[in-house]
């Protein structure tokens, strides 16, 4: 599979053209132009996504699957067409392996509560890494607590890279699942998930990948990776919030009990017995976020038209440029210096608390994240309360990094 270091194609990457597709970027905040560098938290939406949702509500809003009328058929078609787009985007074998969720968090909880409750017993072990987001820790902790199973943690080195030898030692006959992030939201590290999956499978252990941060930056091929589950959120890939995807291998999903009960997930219901619908409907109880699904489909069309590899190459250029520029500021300590990194720069600035950095940058138009990034164990590992984090999207330009650098220098002046 491709990495963030994908080769640039000969075709020029017309970032200024792409920027025009995102109406929100063309504005001033606090009287200065907005520099949006909080893409790891959420990305902005192109006009085509906004218009796809708008069109649905203006022209064919209806509930799916149940209506015989025209609008319902149009809505159902758009909803199911998006599923096929997603299938192709991650190269799943079957569109029934694409389950709509509210986001990565719900996808992971779905696996923990269905596959997990059915298959994990007292004494079993689940393996996560030290760089996980809380959403890939807490659902497993809850499961382990319920079942009397044990959560084990793959350690990381000072650069923020997984210790693969330690990982291998931690996979035992008791291990039931490895749940690991593809890209760390707090450090930017790209994990060698192909190696992890291969090793885990050689020991008969399943692997869930948290793809929240990787999906907009790395071309994902779930069949080539051979991962068992892959969860991601739409809003990190220029789609609306409240919609996400859980990919799972068909035979696993098919054997799992349902997650939530309700309409749309049944084949037939009587008070004596309910039979469940086939995949993917079994996991999609209730009226879903139809507009969100349509928006996600439009977002994948948008990203595919540019090309994930080209976006990755552009973001890698920004990462290299930004890392060099920030490294010149002597008070900066970059947290997360893995050899393989996505477009995320987490840093501390002398003794200045990240929240003070965030406030002062905001006043200069620069939107970054400050805090523990829902990864408190990572902060603990590096013995810091929080970091400031700049993260790049397909529309960012080097000039914005220059503004960031100037804004950081101004922050240092305030606290001088």
């Amino acid at each position: 599979m491709a990495t963030a270091h994908a080769e640039s194609t000969t075709q020029t990457y017309d970032v200024l053209k792409y920027r025009k597709d995102f109406p929100i970027l063309n504005q001033k905040v606090h009287g200065v132009p907005l520099v949006y560098l909080d893409n790891a938290a959420t990305t902005q939406k192109p006009l085509s996504v906004i218009e796809a949702e708008n069109k649905y509500y203006r022209e064919y809003n209806a509930n799916i699957h149940r209506g015989v009328h025209l609008l319902s058929q149009q809505a159902t078609k758009a909803y199911e067409d998006a599923r096929v787009k997603i299938q192709k985007f991650i190269n799943a074998a079957n569109s029934a392996e694409i389950i709509y969720t509210r986001g990565t968090t719900e996808g992971i909880n779905l696996v923990a509560q269905t596959w997990g409750r059915k298959n994990v017993q007292a004494g079993d072990e689940i393996l996560v890494s030290a760089m996980e987001h809380h959403s890939n820790i807490v659902p497993w902790q809850m499961l382990c607590e319920e079942k009397g199973a044990k959560l084990k943690v793959i350690p990381i080195n000072d650069a923020g890279e997984l210790l693969m030898d330690e990982f291998k030692k931690l996979v035992t006959s008791k291990t039931k699942l490895v749940a690991v992030t593809h890209v760390s939201n707090a450090l930017g590290t790209i994990n060698p998930i192909a190696d992890i999956i291969q090793y885990a499978h050689s020991k008969g252990v399943l692997v869930l990948i948290d793809g929240a941060q990787s999906i907009p930056h790395i071309k994902v091929d779930v069949q080539a990776l051979d991962c068992d589950f892959y969860a991601f959120s739409g809003h990190k890939i220029y789609a609306p919030t409240g919609i996400g995807v859980l990919y799972g291998k068909y035979k696993l999903l098919d054997a799992m009990p349902p997650y939530q009960g309700g309409g749309d997930m049944i084949a037939s219901v009587t008070f004596e017995k309910t039979t469940y619908a086939k995949l993917p409907n079994k996991f999609e109880a209730g009226t879903p976020h139809i507009a969100g699904v349509i928006g996600l489909g439009a977002a994948l069309d948008y990203v595919s038209a540019i090309g994930v590899d080209r976006i990755a190459a552009h973001e890698h250029e920004l990462l290299v440029y930004g890392t060099q520029a920030l490294s010149k500021i002597k008070e900066i300590r970059i947290i997360g210096t893995a050899a393989m990194k996505a477009g995320v720069i987490s840093f501390t600035l002398g003794e200045i608390h990240p929240h003070d950095i965030g406030t002062i940058l905001d006043k200069q138009g620069v939107a970054i994240r400050a805090g523990h990034h829902c990864a408190q164990p990572v902060m603990e590992r590096f013995d810091i309360p929080a970091t400031a984090r700049a993260s790049f999207g397909l529309y960012n330009v080097k000039e914005e990094i220059d503004v960031l650098v100037t804004a950081i220098q101004k922050t240092l002046e305030v606290f001088a």
Binding site: G31, V32, H353, T359, I360, G371, H372, K410, F415
Partner: protein
């Protein structure tokens, strides 16, 4: 270029750099822990009250942003020697000021009025008020860690 002096005033920067009454207190008879999960600000507040309800001594320790540290430092300076009733009164005035609930900061807040600008930074109100909530908890000898996100509607 924007100006930051509405929030980061010299007095605030001075207190964050050189916090007063900073460090553990061995002869405290009241103390409480405060935590702001949003920022990770943590502080412990120590009080020594006499029988007449006067704050004889007050200290704090912990880590946090400039606003939370300066607020804690300036609070200890303001409250030393005050009666607990006065401390409660100042707590409510300070709280109303940073929440923007009152037009003009009350005069008896004295130097604490320097935090008036916080009301224009909704994300930072909790930073300024953490020390005060923790002080209030210490007065009442509450055992639980004071959290600015405890679901009790403690908005600031």
């Amino acid at each position: 270029m924007s100006d930051f002096s509405d929030l980061y005033q010299d007095l605030i920067l001075d207190h964050q750099k050189n916090p007063r009454n900073f460090g553990e207190m061995t002869d405290a008879n009241h103390h409480a822990d405060g935590y702001n999960p949003l920022c990770g600000d943590k502080l412990t507040l120590y009080l020594k009250l006499d029988d007449a309800g006067t704050i004889q001594d007050i200290h704090f320790k912990g880590s946090g942003c400039a606003i939370s540290k300066a607020s804690a430092s300036m609070m200890t300076v303001a409250l030393k020697g005050k009666k607990t009733a006065e401390a409660e009164h100042l707590f409510h005035e300070f709280h109303d000021m940073v929440m923007g609930k009152i037009e003009k900061a009350p005069e008896d807040l004295g130097k604490l009025k320097v935090f008036e600008g916080v009301k224009d930074y909704p994300a930072r109100v909790k930073c300024a008020s953490l020390a005060w909530h923790t002080m209030e908890a210490a007065l009442h000898n509450e055992k639980d860690v004071v959290s600015t996100d405890d679901g009790k509607g403690m908005e600031g």
